[in-house]
Symmetry: D2
Subunit: 334 residues, 4 copies
């Protein structure tokens, strides 16, 4: 931690700050400069709460050097992790994992059709939402537990592991019985109680970046899961909220190489929610592989025009097969 003093801070003010640092059990090292004095804080292990210092007279700014996360950091865990989930492996040295399926489970027939379709095209895992977080209460909220069964049946029929979103703690036990991977959605990225409970399970988790989460917050959310003992975490970039509304969100692809440098956890990309437009899904999916994503999660529906949710961003069977062919060509050269 570095404490920057005002240009006009007095020696007494500098001394008072140094005393407050010592009162916290830490070491204060003044760094006098030509324009102002700064005070380096040494001896802390991890992030320091600056409440007792930030507002002392003469303090202009407190700059944190330590981050609120440590277990997810590559700084302390230099080798990249490979996370196994449902028999599939996410991480460096592994082929990119393709997760595909409809936004929501709508019926037994729809899930079966979707599962066979994505399997035939080469996907490695089946997605499908049984519990759906919708902006308003008057939209379709998902089939619930019935949806979980259809998802599992479809996965089994097609020979694919399945992933589905969990929205509340009471659902965890049941969802773990039906699914191979738990998904925490963007809206729940800072639902810390859910993160903690998921951390207590030995179950693999896909954690989506919150709509306005900084990378620091994203990694700190993952830290909640690891701090409870669960290291089977896969990160997922899915677009952030910006002023631009021509796309549903703004897909921030540069986080993929950035996070790969900062954390040992694998990271995949969801181009469907990020763009909200079918025509943009394939180009962004390919770009995701090129920047180093360990996988892709893409919405595929046997009949997108009849989808109860997010049809406009779903690929149909032909679109997904074409994308898979293109991804395979790309993989050949990566």
């Amino acid at each position: 931690m570095l404490i920057v003093m005002d240009h006009a801070a007095t020696e007494a003010q500098v001394a008072a700050v140094a005393a407050a640092v010592k009162a916290m059990g830490l070491v204060a090292q003044p760094i006098p400069g030509s324009e102002r004095t700064a005070i380096g804080v040494l001896g802390n292990e991890g992030y320091v709460d600056d409440s007792s210092i930030r507002d002392l007279p003469g303090v202009r700014e407190v700059i944190h050097v330590s981050k609120p996360y440590k277990l997810v950091s590559r700084d302390f865990h230099p080798e990249a992790s490979v996370v196994e989930a449902g028999g599939v492996r996410f991480g460096n040295g592994q082929p990119p994992v393709i997760i595909a399926g409809p936004c929501s489970v709508e019926s037994e027939t729809q899930m079966l059709a979707a599962a066979h379709l994505v399997k035939a095209a080469g996907a490695h895992m089946l997605r499908g939402g049984a519990f759906k977080p919708r902006t308003g209460p008057h939209s379709f909220q998902g089939l619930g537990y019935e949806g979980l069964k259809y998802l599992r049946q479809a996965g089994d029929a097609a020979g694919l592991p399945v992933i589905t979103e969990v929205m509340r703690i009471e659902q965890l036990e049941t969802v773990c019985r039906y699914a191979d991977v738990l998904q925490i959605g963007a809206r729940n990225m800072q639902n810390f109680d859910l993160l903690k409970e998921v951390g207590k399970l030995g179950f693999p988790v896909l954690l989506k970046r919150g709509m306005s989460a900084t990378i620091e917050e994203f990694l700190s959310a993952a830290e909640y899961i690891l701090a409870e003992g669960n290291e089977r975490v896969i990160l997922c970039e899915r677009g952030i909220r910006t002023f631009e509304r021509a796309t549903r969100n703004t897909l921030d692809l540069s986080v993929v190489p950035l996070v790969r440098g900062m954390s040992h956890l694998p990271i995949i990309v969801d181009p469907s929610h990020a763009t909200g437009k079918r025509s943009l899904v394939a180009p962004m999916a390919k770009a995701a592989l090129v920047v180093g994503a360990h996988g892709i999660m893409v919405e595929v529906h046997p009949d997108p025009e009849k989808a109860l949710c997010d049809g406009a961003q779903s690929l149909d069977g032909a679109g997904f097969s074409k994308l898979m062919a293109e991804l395979n060509v790309l993989r050949g050269i990566l």
Copy 2:
């Protein structure tokens, strides 16, 4: 709903879209223009899912006229609501409600001191967090159920109703036993399961705007609570996330008059979390009253420099008394 066609859309494409609208049980009214055709959609009651239309050939854009909320809207509920909570009334024609207290409950002594301090200065309700949502797991997470007791004791001792944040469904029953008002924090604004459960209680709820929630999403989140039968909802603006990081968030004060026009629910402002800086709390609190807020929620700590959480944005006793005096002068002329 208005469907805007491409300039070069063919008559067959227009006809296909009209047919899709009819298949949804709605009426399609083409509006030919000099540059392109638009198709008005009539007959819907409420928001229409556009999945089956948005991606048909020749469609350029689908524009929604209906909103995903209705119960919270002033359009269908013209008179402003007054919400009673803990013996205090929020809404038009009522004096602004001042809620004050520490960010988190730290000890029995601290809460008692805080309660007497804010009561003496004229506050109407006591705040204090027992469960704290913190960015990282290594920060102080609150005292939990023990904190609830201290909060209640302090409120009783000072003669103040109390409000506290609830973060998970299992806490609801206990929290309702100790608190007079439930708070849903910004990070849980779209924790829809929590909203639904809170909606099933007859208990008053303060709902904070999510960090990157549009007003439409904010009102839709409130709609979840009303849709379950609970109309005792108070909205709270607490700053949004923008590119500007000189303040913790950007306090969007214009939403106060805007929301008062769009919804019948009362709305208050939290200038402490919005700015993150003690020196900005008082000016923004006063501005909030001036733009029409039905109340203010402000962090006050008997000894901010020793606060375990958010000390830098907390007022001390003297600061809060000064603010209350200024607010009283303002109220005299509003």
Copy 3:
């Protein structure tokens, strides 16, 4: 400047960074910590370009303590400045300056009507755009030099100094002949050549914050003008671009007390462009005074529904008179 090294940085890497700092003529002071080493950089006067250091092996982050501005900073110029412009004084201890008038000069008659109207209601300065920055080229672009004449005539007739926007360097000489204060619009806040030329004049300038300018960039833009010798600069907050589109921009009122603490320059607020909605102008104007703005710039049109530009955010005569009455009451208690 503080250079933060990786946890795993070697001693040789630390030494290489220290050598690079010395090569810049500065002093490097290593600060060893329990988790990593940081290197304090001493001896710089002002902002240091970190290009030669930021990417050296083992460097994790470079943190700047010095700012890219100095002349506008209160750190080096502790007393607040009062800027005189057109016989009116902006700054601490002065009554707030009310600038009013139409978005654009449309005709001689319109300007005369507007001038008499705002004068009668108590405004201190007349605004009106002769050169209009419009998103697209097919919208009304302003009357140009003819507009300047009408503005001047109207100001003279009503006894008001006038302010108008300048968009290109060649206009400066003529605009200075007609106007009392130059306005640099949000879109030109980083038109550095224009800033430099304006800095060479002894003329008062109102500098609007760019739509996505941080406060650091805003103050640095003002620094361009002061660096050329012109200290007669008035800052103006006019809303920033955020994800929220229910208002035209998001008025960031907290910058007023914040900038007053960081800079000695006066700062005013434009609630009209910030909100884009007539009904929000009056509450936000009042709030601006309450948070300490040294003035307000508000759009007033004799007949808003016939305005060629921004009619929907313009007050009419009655609306402005009502606002002035309310502002006067507020001023009585501030």
Copy 4:
């Protein structure tokens, strides 16, 4: 244009709006719905200013269907344009154009070294800034006219056409003598006077997206150039400003396929300014090609650690050669 009325709007209010539409010479077609009436506006050619309508009693919202641009739109110019500049062709069916060189011209030697280096690696055009827009006035501002000469000499020596930024109108004549392509930087994207003057020249222009410009504003800025008769415009995405500060900007790659659908103009990507980090440049450059960019502009410096500007985001010779080899492999499969 669609005018949406309040739920409670009276028939008289609807009639008044219809009358106002007719007074503008347009046709009003009421569309009664179950919840509210909407009024379609027909007969307009292009964008309609809604000032006289947006604030009439009973009006809830005005929705624009026409855009503020037309000449740049693919709607009215279905075939993609190929823009020739300095002997190089940008657009569909052309190999992607690689523009490379230092952020700023620093000396004759540096430019010659850079030119030979990028030519040897296979670049098609040389970049180098003579006039530099810097946040603060105390940073290096570029060599000015002397820099133009060095740039031209270096381009001639290496056999490369050159591109450079122009910041003020008076520079245009000279810059056109030295350069093959003009660059309008992000900060000047809405410097409309500069756009108009550039539009009057028959000279090719690279227009960078403003830091917080929507796609609509970006295309409208290009419209200013085309409206003056200059169709030789190349668009350039260079990252937008968002809440995320871990990268300098957020590269919005999805605009490439999106803009290719909306406009006939070619579009390229600048991964250097977008990310601000050397390690992210290569992955994002490759991703840009994959999503369909017609070219890439990348910063290359013979000795990045000694660069006077943006060294941390510049590739050195080896880094650029490696990138070119990877891009060539990618091009083979695209």
